[in-house]
Symmetry: C2
DNA sequence: CTTGACCTTCCCGTCACTGGAACCCCCATC
DNA sequence: GATGGGGGTTCCAGTGACGGGAAGGTCAAG
């Protein structure tokens, strides 16, 4: 399979697939003409990566998870720890964003949104001034 | 005031303040020795920027908001629109993160987390395989 | 033989900074 | 006068995870 087929099959842009090879996440073969040749196991890995990325894991997390995936003697505790650390990151982000949303929506509610210059949003940003 | 004092007063790193000058968000004076000299209005602007950034506004949003802040003839509707657009972005991000969190926490709950290799997390990432 | 779709590498740009090198300025102390 | 330390300055490179686009090689169809 060439990169275009793999891209269609995995939903990953060709650029992304090349990037993943660059950083040694996958190692496709090469045809004589220099084209990458992907085997099923490469496609499988790419699907794995796509799903892990969709769950917000960093590339380095993906590298770790992929190594665990390929290690038949792994302990599920190791996988769980990576996932739990990531979950904490996500929950922290959610909390930050919720705080922003609350502040912002209060300010928006308080703003008349008409053609007059008076604006609680700017007043708040300007420091209650 | 020199940049160090302004940094202490605004809580913004000196690097960030220089960066904001680079991209023309602020225009501090210069002393004869080349040092930046900040007036109260510069500090005020930097505080504005710090608060806007803390609410997650992009730098370009901040530029817009700052221009509106300084425009006595602004319409509050313009400010409100910028804020509402940003709120949509935030809520989209929150929804994405919530979806990740839900999936991830289910997988974590399903994982024994012991020394055996069997792991629902990897099974899911590997495509139910 | 040419067209057009595909593939290749390479380099720059994104966003909002951060780190670090190399250098200048000013004040105090020995 | 030398020195030391704590400011300040510029400029360059790196971050994460790609995306855009140039310049060029390859291949099947007409």
């Amino acid at each position: 399979m060439n990169i275009g087929d793999v891209s269609a099959r995995t939903g990953l842009p060709a650029k992304t697939i090349r990037y993943y090879e660059d950083i040694n996440l996958i190692k496709p073969m090469r045809d004589d003409n220099g084209y990458r040749r992907f085997r099923d196991q490469d496609v499988h890995k790419l699907n794995f990566l796509g799903r892990a990325r969709a769950l917000g894991f960093t590339i380095e997390d993906c590298r770790t998870l992929l190594a665990l995936y390929e290690d038949e003697t792994r302990a599920s505790a190791d996988v769980k720890q990576v996932a739990r650390d990531h979950l904490v990151q996500i929950e922290t982000k959610i909390a930050d964003l919720n705080a922003m949303r609350d502040t912002l929506s209060h300010l928006i509610d308080a703003c008349a949104g008409d053609d007059r210059p008076d604006c609680p949003i700017l007043r708040d940003l300007g420091g209650k001034g």
